[in-house]
């Protein structure tokens, strides 16, 4: 139909990719009366923070090797004790002969069709008799397929953070349902403990002795009473690392110290944060507690980042933005002559724009960057922290620190009676696989058995040398727990374009 062509249309900005970062940019530009064209090459919203039903996630995993970011997804159906996953989806894997077509192919279930697609990636450990039990277990999971919301890059929002402020300002609070993240746990020496994160909590805590309670109270009071400038509090400790600062000034040690550094300030390693940065993180956390209840974070229902991204996209559309999913982006070229800007060749025609904002994985010459995040998604057969709750966790071990998110039917992430445990850490999967599996095992403990686990590596991309000079690149979701770095990045881009 002719209404479905865009050939030769002019836009102020073309945005490629519908992750949260790109969607915020599109929405803010459209709100400022810019003419925006927003495109995703996938048939779904959310890009690299998309959210899927379980079967769609498995299909994503199978396709993932074909994209340039990450050539590897490991899938365990059942136990994660063994070193060998059930399936290992690899770009370089020699595809094995798929098992002979079973006689039930025509009427085969969703599970067995998925199994057939996955079977090329079966690792050697399984015998043929195990194959049918794997199919059976997948089939059982897929009975509840639509009750899973599996996120590629889970994050939560500070109650008093940039994302919530932006949601309110953009008027899209109406579109998104949030739930409080009720609990914060720290996992040390494979033991899971609540982090007392409000004054009331500290007061009531059974696991702290009186001296510890006083130390923590002193720290929280000192940090909350401070205004933005920590000069006085920091004193001559300004150049210290955050850990050393807490030890010196507040005499924190052991579990208390780790709780503040990792569970509250969300440091990725013991020496990542300086004293000032650490204090700022603690302040943000403490100020977030109490805005909507006694928790510091909110979690969006139905799958965090993707849902929020869709809401920004709707907001952009309401302001006149044009949306195309499943769109082929064939080329991006500088426009010669007096018309500065770009010509972008799409499936729906050639369009022009003064600016192009793109997820680097849309750049024709982009390369994987050095930094990678290893991620795990694990569905457990019992909700280890309760059915109606959401929790964040930090797993702290000598081998590294793992951020974790526990999601249940409270945010409609998993069917009743099950839960999803996410775990992620910086580094390549080959280095972090054991750490991620240990973190999952420590949390699931003896109470819950893994039903389905996937490990994958999310690599950021960077534009290659030959790229066009003035394209504006976004980035893949980082490893931070909250959305604020995403919002800050979006706001930098918007400021540049307005």
């Amino acid at each position: 139909m002719s209404e479905n062509t865009l050939d030769n249309e002019e836009f102020d900005t073309i945005v490629l990719g519908t992750g949260l970062l790109e969607s915020i940019i599109a929405s803010e530009l459209a709100a400022a009366d810019k003419k925006v064209l927003h495109i995703d090459r996938n048939p779904y919203y959310g890009g690299r923070c998309a959210c899927f039903t379980l079967s769609a996630f498995i299909e994503w995993a199978i396709e993932y090797r074909d994209q340039r970011q990450t050539p590897l997804v490991d899938i365990f159906v059942g136990s994660i004790d063994s070193d060998s996953p059930t399936f290992s989806v690899r770009r370089t894997a020699e595809l094995k002969q798929a098992p002979a077509e079973s006689n039930s192919t025509k009427t085969s279930s969703h599970a067995s069709r998925l199994f057939d697609r996955l079977s090329s990636y079966l690792t050697d450990s399984q015998t043929l008799t195990e194959h049918s039990s794997i199919t059976e277990r997948l089939g059982k999971l897929l009975e509840n397929d639509r009750k899973y919301a599996v996120e590629l890059a889970p994050k939560v929002a500070y109650c008093r953070g940039e994302l919530i402020d932006l949601v309110i300002n953009a008027g899209i609070g109406e579109y998104i349902q949030f739930k409080g993240v009720e609990h914060n746990y720290i996992v040390r020496n494979d033991a899971v403990e609540r982090v007392p994160d409000s004054k009331g909590d500290i007061f009531a805590s059974d696991s702290l002795n009186l001296i510890e309670k006083r130390k923590l109270m002193k720290l929280m009071t000192a940090i909350t009473d401070n205004d933005e400038d920590f000069a006085q509090l920091l004193g001559d400790c300004a150049d210290m690392g955050f850990a050393q600062f807490l030890e010196t000034k507040f005499k924190l040690s052991g579990k208390l110290l780790d709780s503040v550094i990792f569970a509250v300030a969300r440091a990725g390693s013991r020496d990542e944060l300086g004293a000032r940065a650490g204090c700022e993180r603690v302040q943000k956390y403490v100020r977030s507690v109490g805005r909507y209840g006694r928790m510091a974070y909110l979690c969006a229902m139905y799958g965090g980042g993707s849902e929020i991204a869709q809401s920004f996209c709707r907001s952009c559309a309401v302001s006149g933005g044009t949306y195309i999913l499943s769109e082929d982006v064939r080329s991006i070229e500088s426009r010669d002559g007096e018309d500065r800007g770009y010509a972008v060749q799409l499936g729906h025609g050639c369009v022009f724009a003064k600016h192009v904002v793109l997820d680097p994985c849309y750049a024709p010459d982009s390369l994987p960057s050095d930094s990678a995040i290893s991620r795990a998604v694990c569905i457990l057969d019992s909700p280890v922290f309760g059915e109606d709750t959401t929790a964040i966790l930090s797993y702290v071990a000598d081998a590294g620190v793992v951020s974790m998110l526990y999601a249940t039917q409270a945010t409609l992430a998993a069917p009743s009676g099950q839960c999803i445990l996410y775990a992620w850490t910086n580094g390549q999967l080959s280095d972090t696989r054991a750490l991620l599996l240990r973190a999952l095992t420590a949390v699931s403990g003896s109470q819950a058995r893994p039903l389905f686990t996937a490990l994958f590596e999310a690599q950021d991309m960077q534009p290659g040398e030959g790229g066009l000079p003035e394209l504006i690149y976004t980035a893949a979701p980082d490893s931070s727990l909250d959305f604020d770095s995403t919002v800050a990045h979006a706001q930098r881009v918007v400021a540049r374009l307005l």
Binding site: S2, V167, I168, G173, E174, Q177, Q310, R314, Y323, I324
Partner: protein, 279 residues
Amino acid sequence: MSHTESPHNSPARTPGSGNRSTHSPASAKPIQIKVVLLGEAAVGKSSLVLRFVNDEFQENKEPTIGAAFLTQKVRLDDSVLKLDIWDTAGQERFHSLAPMYYRNAQAAVVVYDITRASSLDRAKSWIKELQRQASPNIVIALVGNKLDLADVTDVETSAAAAGKSADDSTGDADGDADEASDTEGRSRQVDSATASAYAAEAGLLFLETSAKTGQGVVETFTEIAKKLDLNQIAINSRTGARSGQLNSGSVNVSMLGDGSFGADGQDGSARAGSDGCAC
């Protein structure tokens, strides 16, 4: 802009049905209902809602821009329903509606243009999509719009058609070659019986409307209201199973206790137009 119940939403149109009497009359808070609009571009989706909510009609309306949703109250027996009617915001043009659009919708109005057969095919594919994506209890109304163009075959129609259908909600004014060619002597391409039979088979409400004259418009929304399971919806909204319960006010203690609320309700400031038009 605030919308009270329009006269044409009178209770007289809503014959009694005993099973909804659990809502006490005067004191009852309006029950909030999310209604989504679907259908091919330019079938008159926005025009239908504008007729229903503002009782107005714009010839050659521009493609939809700027309305997040419109709200209209409907009285049904002793309940008051507040219909939040969500427009596609043009995201249907390239078939790029987000799943969050259907999320928690209790009703959908799927619109086609009776003068364009292809628009019914498109409507059918939206209905499939709804049956796949939306909640299983969703009430779906199939609506054939532009009834005013159906029977008239004189010069006047061509005049209306020359400006593109009188009823076009999404003008797509330039470069709509298809449209231009078939606006010549525009007449009905989808007969009532065919669409009605399809709707009956698929378990949908079926109506024909004209946003231009207003024919069938109020009935569409009243029929939807009658078919909703209000008891279930009231229970769900009490237990916080769907959004929206805080649009109109502050977060109260019970909501905090429930832990589910919209981010905009934090300081008791009602959002602009939360009781009327939210555009």
